[in-house]
């Protein structure tokens, strides 16, 4: 299924090349703890739309090329590893944490179809 991650262009390009990096320090994050969150393309968007996240990060980091969305087609079996009672798929948020799908996502990353979409 297609999953989305709203961020800045500089970060999206870095993630596109290297895959999700659990050691990358996001705003509000601490090294090695944060995992990687994505939203299901079809929604629902109970936690905000990826466009909103992209715009929010672009506002915080104005020198990073503006808002974009990283879209990745992730196999269902990898998504399933991130599903648990807190994060069922019906909620529209897929939280890849260490031990909950993040390693599998990182391992498959190079082979996954993905693109960067502009946000107007």
């Amino acid at each position: 299924m297609i999953l989305l991650h709203g961020t800045t262009r500089a970060r999206a390009e870095q993630i596109l090349q290297r895959g999700p990096d659990p050691h990358f320090l996001e705003p509000g994050g601490t090294v090695g703890e944060d995992g990687f969150s994505m939203t299901v393309e079809a929604g629902p968007f109970l936690f905000g739309r990826p466009e909103d996240y992209a715009r929010g990060k672009a506002r915080e980091f104005p020198g990073e090329g503006g808002p974009v969305i990283l879209a990745v087609e992730v196999p269902d079996d990898i998504v399933a590893r991130a599903v648990n009672d807190w994060f069922p798929l019906s909620q529209g948020l897929v939280q890849f944490d260490p031990g909950a799908g993040l390693e599998a996502l990182a391992a498959a990353w190079a082979t996954l179809p993905k693109e960067i979409r502009s946000v107007t």
Partner: protein
């Protein structure tokens, strides 16, 4: 929302993972807020809960993954943004939540989300502030008739200052930018005798936003003065004018 203070036993139970997910947890958390509100902070895989306005209640701690805490912040930020679009980010800042309608109980929500600190404070606003917000949200009523939405401004909008126009446009249109936007929007002006340039500016802002969704905008029930103003400004060429809301509804639905 209940008006009693949360009990120390009830709050930790809220955090037991069940099939209700993070969104369900937030719903229960807001119900449990009661009293003056609630403060949450996260540290080392534990979430500390402290009811506000209850001097004799100590903070309690529950184990909680960081990703769940961050999702709580994101969900509450999304609820604040449903009320006023783009008003807050889960990375920091302050937003506002209103629970209930008659009258709404308004909570100020403060987010702190830095490498060193993750905290959320949901604090009940004073009655005066709640009343002010309640008045602001009652400037317009919004009804849905199938594919058609009807916005009825109250007479209060005649005195609405320019500084509130953008916020008002966002608040009025927020429910319309959902996954099911209306095919048509009727402004029922029957309760307004006269409007100024500020209100026309507000209508144009709404028009732009609604047109982006491909929806049709029409006016109904305009007084003679309002009609003249729309004609003077040539806005009657932009919006069809109908004498009554029923006529506008019939025109938009083909009835």
């Amino acid at each position: 929302m209940s008006s009693h203070s949360p009990t120390p036993r009830r709050l930790p139970r809220t955090f037991v993972p069940t099939r209700r997910d993070v969104a369900g947890l937030v719903e229960e958390l807001l119900e449990a807020c009661g009293g003056e509100g609630l403060q949450l902070d996260w540290h080392a895989d534990r979430c500390r809960l402290r009811p506000l306005g209850a001097e004799n209640q100590e903070a309690t701690e529950v184990p909680l993954p960081k990703s769940v805490f961050r999702a709580i912040l994101a969900r509450i930020a999304a609820l604040c943004n449903e009320r006023v679009p783009d008003s807050v980010s889960p990375y920091g800042g302050e937003g506002e939540l209103a629970i209930g309608t008659d009258p709404p109980t308004v909570f100020r929500v403060a987010f702190t989300n830095t490498p060193g600190e993750q905290r959320l404070e949901v604090r009940r606003r004073s009655d005066a502030e709640t009343e002010r917000v309640g008045r602001r949200t009652q400037l317009f009523s919004l009804e849905r008739h199938g594919d058609i939405a009807v916005i009825t401004p109250s007479p209060e909008v005649e005195k609405m200052p320019e500084s509130l126009m953008e916020q008002a446009a966002q608040m009025v249109l927020a429910p319309l930018s959902s996954d099911n936007p209306p095919a048509g929007l009727i402004f029922d002006l029957s309760r307004v005798d006269y409007v100024g340039s500020e209100f026309l500016s507000f209508l144009l802002r709404c028009h732009r936003r609604v047109k982006e969704q491909g929806s049709e905008v029409v006016m109904a029930g305009a007084s003679r003065q309002v009609r003249e103003l729309l004609q003077l400004t040539a806005l009657d060429t932009l919006w069809a004018l109908y004498d009554t809301r029923a006529e506008a509804l019939a025109a938009l639905t083909g009835g």
